[in-house]
Symmetry: C2
Subunit: 139 residues, 2 copies
């Protein structure tokens, strides 16, 4: 039951409940998700509380939200593999507003900034790649 506590905020409690429901397949991948106002009525919470809870699930990549149509449970992403050369450097960070717009990134997606030995810099959306070290046999 969601109730006011000192240690757990209402929006965190709601996020926990919804995450549990998603992982138990209560809504199905790619299927609809209750509307914001519907969740307000269902749990007796305010709009801000519901929106903060859903923002958490978005950042965790569990749902995607579109204006006008609502939210859907996300299907797992297929990742491309990127090879990290020896002595090259990888940094994960959040994108700036400009980068998020230019790369058409969804909120909450980190960037991988790979600085190669020869000075080349590669910036990738972290939710679309896996990174592996170069095979010593091949390199």
């Amino acid at each position: 039951m969601i109730a006011r506590r000192r240690d757990h905020a209402l929006y965190q409690q709601l996020a926990d409940v919804l995450r549990e429901q998603i992982q138990q397949g209560a809504y199905g991948a790619g299927t609809g998700f209750p509307a914001e106002r519907e969740l307000c009525k269902l749990h007796g919470l305010g709009l801000m509380t519901v929106r903060r809870a859903m923002a958490i699930l978005r950042e965790e990549g569990l749902i995607t939200t579109s204006r006008g149509s609502g939210s859907v449970v996300r299907v797992p992403i297929r990742r491309a593999t990127v090879v990290l050369d020896a002595d090259s450097c990888l940094i994960a960070r959040m994108p700036s507003a400009v980068e998020r717009h230019a790369m058409n990134l969804e909120p909450g997606v980190p960037l991988l900034e790979i600085r190669h030995v020869r000075g080349q810099v590669q910036v990738l959306a972290a939710d679309q790649v896996e990174v592996t070290g170069r095979s010593t046999a091949a390199g």
Copy 2:
């Protein structure tokens, strides 16, 4: 000047202004930052707008905010270097609520999940490490 536009939300405009001020050293590293309500009065904006703008700066790692004391401009972080073995795999993702609590992570910090060849899995806060491929000469 910050004004209502269709393409740029007020909180984004404010974040841009504050980011500019920070990068020009208007507040100094480790020094104080205007209080939320002060920014409201300064720019003639509501509390929600100011808080969203500051949330953006927090996610970008430019400021840290503490309840009761306020916000300060962040000093650049010193990163440790982690070697990524050949054929091991790195995934960057956002932490769950449990992980964020267990690892004492600040909001907006991505995790680096490194899966080594031998099955060992290493989970690190992305703002505290740089990752490099293993040197072919040494490996």
